[in-house]
């Protein structure tokens, strides 16, 4: 398989919910693909079906029209990982055990699993908190643990649903840089849903702009800028202006 092939295809996907006896369309004819090792940002006003789209891709909801295919679907070792807006760590498990959940079906020995957990905790800077319970972590640390849990699955596609939305802006910028560093060291495609246009442009190779009622794709913006990017650069500012004009 060549490097430019796509990891994920979303073709003609529509989704509706029954509401007051009527079907309300939340996603209308969504089409896009995600390349291997590509970072794809999705921005849009709330209610445009961004989160629903991720739920469809990860398989939490299987009732939709159209098709969602992965090039690695046949390989059980390649999975789709997901990071939610809230960390969703299990409060009764230590950070270590939470990350270990990702290796539940892995054939590795207990020792190998332990090493792998240690590796991913180190990657997100939580080595010292392996034995801590989620309650004892700050919001940013808990979110990093959730990212470690998703990475430990070693997915070829990582879906992120407003992963830094609940964090303050300085912490958010730091975690964005950490995410890029992790992405550079791991072979993974990332689809990141956000309401922060700047975040999408800073991280993404392309940014899908969605609009609501029903949720559909307005435009796909290519961010052809080398990394590391400068958040304050004129190029980013231009693209941001373009995206915002579509959103407002």
């Amino acid at each position: 398989m060549n490097a430019s092939a796509n990891a994920l295809f979303v073709e003609h996907v529509s989704k509706s919910y029954p509401l007051d006896g009527l079907d309300r369309l939340v996603l209308k004819d969504i089409n896009f693909s995600v390349g291997h090792n590509e970072i794809l940002g999705i921005v849009g006003a709330s209610g445009c079906g961004k989160s629903t789209l991720l739920r469809l891709i990860v398989g939490l909801d299987t009732e939709y029209r159209g098709s969602i295919t992965r090039s690695n679907a046949g390989d059980p070792g390649k999975r789709v990982g997901m990071v939610f807006q809230d960390h969703r760590l299990y409060p009764w498990l230590t950070v270590e055990a939470n990350v270990g959940l990702a290796l539940d079906t892995s054939p590795l020995s207990a020792r190998q699993k332990h090493e792998k957990i240690g590796h991913y905790l180190h990657l997100v800077g939580l080595s010292d908190f392996a034995k801590a319970y989620p309650r004892q972590l700050s919001g940013g640390m808990a979110q990093r643990a959730a990212i470690a849990r998703a990475l430990a699955q070693e997915p070829d596609i990582l879906l992120m649903d407003e992963p830094f939305g609940a964090l303050d802006s300085i912490l958010r910028m730091r975690l964005q840089d950490e995410l890029l560093a992790i992405w550079e060291r791991n072979q993974v495609s990332i689809v990141i849903v956000t309401h922060d246009v700047e975040e999408a442009l800073y991280l993404g190779d392309r940014v899908i702009v969605m609009e609501p009622n029903p949720g559909r794709i307005r435009d796909i913006v290519t961010v052809d800028l080398p990394r590391p990017r400068d958040r304050a650069s004129l190029d980013i500012a231009d693209l941001k202006k373009r995206c915002l004009s579509m959103l407002m």
Binding site: G81, R88, Y90, W92, L101, D104, Y133, R135
Partner: protein, 258 residues
């Protein structure tokens, strides 16, 4: 230090009423203000389990009742836990089982005794079944409730991570239901204790605290009855603290919440 003193004072305040009642009892009986064959002094009640031949049977009775409550409680509790888990998680089990259990629960526990003695006789089996029944209902209800309230977002995580069935039970459903199960356990332990003593008292033969109290009453030995009642209360407190300790040992993640 100041907090410790305040706490000490508070717990002292709780002792005022029982100590007051005790001294009143002691005063009234030792000064001979109340007389009669049924009047005993606190000293007699304290001494009877040690100095009296019939009174010394209290210890064996206590041991028997404890063994009975643990055995019966464990059987009923485990069945309640399993049934509650199934009805909490599966719609089919809930439809098939819940209405029946919720209806049967409305029958007052002691109304079961005539039926149970008819089925299982006047021996050990009936007492065990009755104790098991007393522990079953609270644990069933609490577990069912707890499993139903497992947060949906955490279930989504289990799906995304592709957790196996066993892991879902041990790492998601049971721990998530634990706070509710603990409340059920506290109630079940006391319910089973009351059930054990009640069955012993109502059926009458054999050993146990209930039979001990019943035979003390038949012999007009109020010292034996009172010693039995106090032991019964102490047994309840002991079981309750065992349940609390078990709960805490099983949920170390709540340590800093306590």
């Amino acid at each position: 230090m100041a907090r410790l003193n305040a706490r000490g004072l508070l717990s002292l305040r709780g002792a005022v009423l029982p100590l007051g009642a005790l001294s009143l009892w002691w005063m009234v009986t030792s000064l001979g203000l109340v007389r009669g064959p049924l009047v005993v002094t606190p000293v007699q009640v304290v001494a009877v389990p040690f100095l009296d031949a019939s009174g010394r049977e209290l210890w064996a009775a206590l041991g028997t009742s404890m063994a009975r409550v643990l055995a019966g409680g464990l059987i009923g509790g485990l069945i309640g836990l399993t049934a509650g888990y199934l009805t909490g998680l599966y719609r089919l089990a809930a439809l098939g089982l819940s209405p029946t259990v919720h209806s049967i629960r409305q029958v007052a526990l002691f109304a079961w005794i005539p039926l149970l003695t008819a089925w299982f006789g006047n021996g050990e089996a009936t007492k065990l079944v009755f104790t098991a029944l007393s522990a079953f209902f609270p644990l069933f209800l609490a577990t069912e409730q707890g499993i139903r309230q497992v947060p949906r977002p955490l279930v989504d995580v289990a799906s995304v991570l592709n957790l196996t069935y066993l892991t879902r039970i041990t790492k998601l459903y049971l721990p998530a239901a634990l706070p509710s199960i603990y409340i059920g356990l506290q109630i079940a332990v006391l319910s089973a204790w009351i059930g054990t003593i009640g069955a012993e008292y109502a059926i009458g033969n054999g050993r146990g605290l209930g039979s001990f109290i019943a035979s003390g009453r038949d012999q007009f030995r109020m010292d034996i009855v009172l010693a039995g009642v106090i032991t019964l209360a102490a047994g309840g407190v002991l079981l309750n603290s065992l349940a609390t300790r078990l709960s805490h040992a099983l949920s170390p993640w709540t340590k800093d919440l306590r």
